[in-house]
Symmetry: D2
Subunit: 357 residues, 4 copies
């Protein structure tokens, strides 16, 4: 039984590199040899034990690689082909999938819906911080990488870019909109890029770290607001001449940013939430107009599936957005524990790390 | 100066009938002689001082009447014509109005948006619990009543029906949806009717008052749930075989019903909120899937304007919905203080009262 | 090798009942024993040679039956279960399917789109006018029939009802809309029912056959227009007081009805086309406002997949619409040639026939 | 009675500069002193007598200017303020306007809808190729020009930019879409810019004039197709690897381009038509998939109103798109007849002319 290296969750505080068998390939699966992957904020939640996964599970959900072996029933791909798969791997056949809610895929449940059900890599099945990953429902999930794009150029497609853009898309941004994005970490930066890509003409990025505010402007922000330089709500209301924004995107997952989003939102506006919250949220009565403000609040989990990946690869290939500067650090898979250490402590201005087996 | 009777707000606890001058008619206005009006839950908030209005203001925002006099610039109407106007009277020219958010009409503000700005009758200008009401921006707001419809048949159009239906419409209900409506007061009943009208095939009405649950079934509920017969969340999850509902409509304005809506919602579902809340709301982390459930929360304030009224009058005229049974009590304008007393204490199974000058 | 009876296309003018082997069941398939099926207008096009299919192909695409045997990889179903499948059987994994355009499923093509690609039964694979049918991608396509519903009650779900309703849904019908449906054959009748189900308050059914006009009123038409009693365009413009309709649904597939739809459409309205045309169409300049009328024209092919079927079964189970009267004639499979003779000549007031093996 | 110069339509072939009285200002109007205007393709249709207007009417519908005098009932503006108004001037109070279809404004009709009714300047009322123009419903239509923007920078907002962008917006372009734009005249160029602004990642501009193809790439086209270098349908199908485009925008108004749009459209795609056609259109059966391709065809007339103008001004102010290079020639109002001569004959590579009184 061939073996491979894989980063596995052992217990809160410990993700370690170990040997595991290379997985068997079922009829609908594909085995992908990882060439580059990365670490996500969610992986840090797993590391810390804040999001529980099974002991021994391989973590990681952002695969770039090469098809090593195709399942017997998989058609339309070739071994040796360069591919990515989304962080979310829908089945294609659940009721949720057939409604377009691939992330809430309920395959295996009686009624076909399961919260976060589409997120399988590094959650309910082995992930991709390893030499190989088994991609389920391969015909739904594998997206060929166009020639000429490097691994690092496409490394953000599986999760960060898909999530950040979804924040803009689900908000229904229209040409001429004013949009505020709270927090300019990797997802917030992609939301900023996505807002511009959807036609927003005043994009306001909120953060305080200098490097992130610069990145924000490079990714499409027209204005950046430093939340330590004064209440960001006041600053944004001043920028918008008292009107507020059409869309506010939450990209951190805290009460403060969620609430600030609502406070800068004009009546009839949309709060698009991307953050992963860790406690109950409060909706303040006043900014919510006591429920009479015609507001919309939408939440989004990273969209997946090969059609989503194809579209994001188009964005990269057309140079609409350049996400390469987001890769600030590079590690060998053998050094992944050091990568976790750097990334989880947000040292050295890290945005994203590239991991190569 | 001709005088008229009008129900005016004096101080918390006191709405009284007094004499006031019949208003002057500006170029864009219409003076309407009220033939029937009603009392809304919002008026009770005003009565109790929970929603502040100016001392001396005529209350009421649900007018059915006859055009007494048209402003010099108003075209397309005739004096003597039977009309209604919505509770919400948009200007037609604010940025909010031009975006279709008539209820958040910011006419007069620099940027054109104002929370609840379209609600003028009995809020920022004199309302219609009086012998006459002055309708502003008459060409935007007056809707002729088709011959053959009685005042009571159309009395719910200006507010209750428009609001309740909006709960269903803004939720994007689709053919085959399962919808739960929490609370079966006048607005909840209209939301129930609206959900069925939009194609929902399992409409679940939640209340505990026997008469309201019967009304719920008459208005379109397939199933009613008595929240005193067990946790309504459990009951609904059982009815839906663990799946939850596609859309949950909140029609009361409390933490308990808001939260129950979220708890019965499938991932990717929509919580459509109609209630007027009186304190901060809490979003519980679990049912909110920590922000990753692809949920949508929408709030709606009663849509207004003559086109909205025309559509609702079509609903009445086509007998799609019969709201006459909602009028449970009738009063002369002279007895409006007694009407407030009955309605504000929800005595005698009252749903809605008809007031005729 | 077990044999079964099947209605096969031999040559233009000849569909005959013959013996064929019962098909083998692949890993993703399900073999369904047909208990009831029907003949569609499209089958008549095939019979006449107007739509070419392979010689020897089993025709028919509206299956009601019982699962006889499940493929090795199929989960979530049981042998012996009563099911239907849609006329359209998407793969779930093509780019078209993942975009929600299941009917244009391009599984097997390089880019994932193929016109009409989702229509497989009786078109590119053997259909269901037979004792057994093999359902491909069973987990995407099989929908369990709720207990208590008869075969005839659900017989319209796979095609007629899904198509007719789509005419209303794709048009974005809103509460209070006025809708005209041109032709009240089986699909037009379902479009009429669908328009009402979506909230239209004035539904106008156009035909001339007395029985169909009566059926139209039973299915939800408020008014019927006999196109032999005067130009139907004039009649509808009179009914709508010169305004025209918000939505016009074409349910026949001719230049005359397509053009009439455009002529009764208000500016900004939607023409929803369901017909199968047999020659180029002409868009007349005037009614099209020279291209400046903000019109929308949408075409729809019958939506399929198990989630679509589930929703339509909900409609039937909730008694929102009763399609049983559409079954006007019944035949044994052994007599299917006689059924084709009756149906293709539209004799004896036939709407739909039920065929039982 | 003060006089002004105005370009008036005399008879087919003759638009001449004459003296006319400066108009009186009604209560809802504003008199605007024109500082810059331009000539539209539609004006050439009027010149040629292809689109009939009243003899003596002042032509032109793209005003940039300064408020000279406000009507007595107009609030929120100041005399001396720099403004633009859209080519389309909605009333704000017709049923069409209240539905958001401002271009089909039926103010004055019984039912509230009129094809092209929102187009008043130079069509049903005096236009702006003059020293002054009277803007009706001023509070609906006047948009202040931000300081720092020149007349020429905002000159395209009233018509060309609003129309071209609408071609992209109404098509529902999504991130990652492939879009073809047929004809790269002023409107096609704006549609190209609009498609990119909405998130399309492969924008294909079709023309043959070298300067227009260069302009196309500057405005956002990723690829240009010269229709004289081979059948553009074949070229586009090759570029898209046989898949076709998600959206095809028609920006010329001919059968050839309309039909080419349909031929390059994938199933389920949208044909967005902007052209003004001069004869009946033919829909070819094959590319239309006999009506079963789930296609959408939308037409758009230039959106107007102050909110639309505000959004377009945002686009200019944020430098998302730079339309200044579209002004290729400049004329004094006194020389407008020469400007018409140049523009109508499309001499000297003219795209748009700036006219200054």
């Amino acid at each position: 039984m061939p073996q491979m290296k894989a980063a596995i969750f052992v217990e809160p505080g410990r993700i370690v590199l170990e040997q595991k068998p290379v997985p068997d390939v079922g009829p609908m699966d594909a085995l992908v040899r990882i060439t580059t992957t990365t670490i996500c904020g969610t992986d840090v939640h797993i590391l810390k034990g804040e999001y529980p996964v099974a002991r021994g599970l391989t973590v990681g959900h952002e695969p770039v690689g090469v098809i090593e072996k195709l399942g017997s029933a998989v058609q339309g791909y070739a071994e040796g082909q360069r591919v990515i798969a989304g962080a979310i791997c829908p089945s294609g056949h659940s009721h949720a999938s057939l409604c377009g809610f691939h992330s809430q895929d309920g395959a295996g449940t009686r009624h076909g819906w399961k919260p976060l059900g589409g997120w399988r890599f590094g959650n309910t099945i082995d992930g991709c911080q390893a030499e190989y990953v088994l991609v389920p429902d391969a015909m739904v999930n594998l997206a060929p990488v166009p020639d000429g794009l490097t691994d690092e150029e496409v490394l953000m497609c599986p999760d960060i870019m898909s999530t950040g853009f979804a924040g803009a898309e689900r908000a229904g941004i229209k040409i001429g909109d004013t949009v505020a994005v709270f927090a300019q970490g990797p997802i917030g930066l992609c939301a900023t890029a996505g807002a511009k890509l959807c036609g927003a003409t005043t994009v306001i990025g909120v953060d305080t770290v200098q490097a992130r505010m610069e990145a924000s402007r490079r990714m499409g922000a027209d204005i950046t607001v430093d939340f330590k330089a004064g209440d960001p709500v006041d600053q944004i209301m001043r920028i918008t001449d008292g009107r507020g924004v059409d869309v506010a995107i939450e990209a951190l997952g805290t009460q403060a940013t969620f609430e600030a989003c609502l406070r800068v939102l004009r009546p009839g506006g949309t709060l698009s939430s991307l953050g992963v919250y860790s406690s109950d949220l409060k909706i303040p009565l006043g900014p919510f107009a006591a429920g009479l403000g015609d507001h919309t609040i939408v939440t989004s989990l990273c969209p997946g599936g090969k059609e989503r990946m194809r579209r994001l690869l188009n964005v990269v290939a057309s140079h609409r957005v350049d996400l390469r500067p987001m890769v600030t650090h590079r590690f060998k898979l053998d050094d992944i524990e050091a990568a976790y250490d750097l990334f989880s402590h947000q040292r050295d201005g890290v945005l994203k790390v590239a991991i190569t087996p």
